[in-house]
């Protein structure tokens, strides 16, 4: 017996849009419970709280190398992660190992992403903890 194919079956699932710099900074501020002024302080005034606010409001998207470095220091994240966000590649897919996870399980990118995200959150948390250790 032939089964009727849904007209939408060949339509690929819409993949999640890449995270913007604003989304990324907002997420990190929330995760680490940091304020704009904390970023200014942690970056040794390399970036001002006002500039961080502008990034969140999409008013400042072309950052200089110094600003990227300062923001990375303020957030306690590697500058390459911020650079990847700016050029439209999520840091997640930049990790070679995770590329492989995607490669091997690409039946539904959205589902894989949803499954991988919490795992990476746990790993990132542990990496941050180890980096903070004296």
């Amino acid at each position: 017996m032939m089964t009727r194919k849904s007209r939408y079956s060949s339509v690929p699932k819409k993949s999640k849009p890449p995270e913007t710099l604003s989304d990324y900074v907002r997420r990190k501020l929330r995760e680490k419970n940091l304020s704009f002024m904390d970023i200014e302080r942690l970056s040794n005034k390399g970036i001002t709280g006002g500039a961080v606010n502008k990034i969140l409001n999409h008013d400042m998207e072309n950052l200089t190398a110094r600003a990227i470095d300062a923001l990375a220091r303020g957030l306690g994240e590697p500058p390459e992660d911020i650079l990847n966000i700016i050029i439209g590649r999520s840091p997640l897919t930049e990790t070679p190992g995770l590329n492989a996870l995607f490669y091997n399980y690409t039946e539904s990118t959205e589902d894989v992403q949803a499954a991988v995200d919490p795992l990476i959150e746990v790993v990132n948390h542990e990496i941050d903890r180890r980096r903070k250790k004296p």
Binding site: G97, A100, L101, I127
Partner: protein, 171 residues
Amino acid sequence: MRLTAGERSHDGMREPLHVAAVRSRLSRMGYRLHQHAFTSDDFEGICEAEEIILVRYPHPWTGAYFRHRGFDVIYIRSTLSGLLKPFVELHELAHFWLHYPEGPPPAQRAQLFDARRMLIDKVEHQASVIASLMLIPTIHIETYSTYELLELYGDRHIVEFRLCIYRTIGN
């Protein structure tokens, strides 16, 4: 291969190089490969000594080894039980020692445990050989009958795989 040439031992003519390398590394940590039956506790101790981030999570994948932000990460499905649990743990540990993610294209760098590839893929086979050698020591193979090994370990596939290795390399 993560282990350096200096760590490779050549005694035992039939012992493959990757087995000798792991045996030498374990020996430095105070473990004797063919005499000690490694458990999950040993695995956790080795992960700590090697500064590997160990994540146990209820994911669909059984196990994986990858590098993330400059750290080595072993992920193990938290719902694993029985002999498969230490087997997958030791299998991923073997990937950490033997298959450092450099050189191959990115798509092949993460080592995911896949039982279907266990005996097909060279890299997977090497990791499975190490895992079974660590799990069922030679001393048990030489002491117990096949029936007793099955009683003791309770997983026919892993015991048969281990016996096959014993017949091939004599350890």
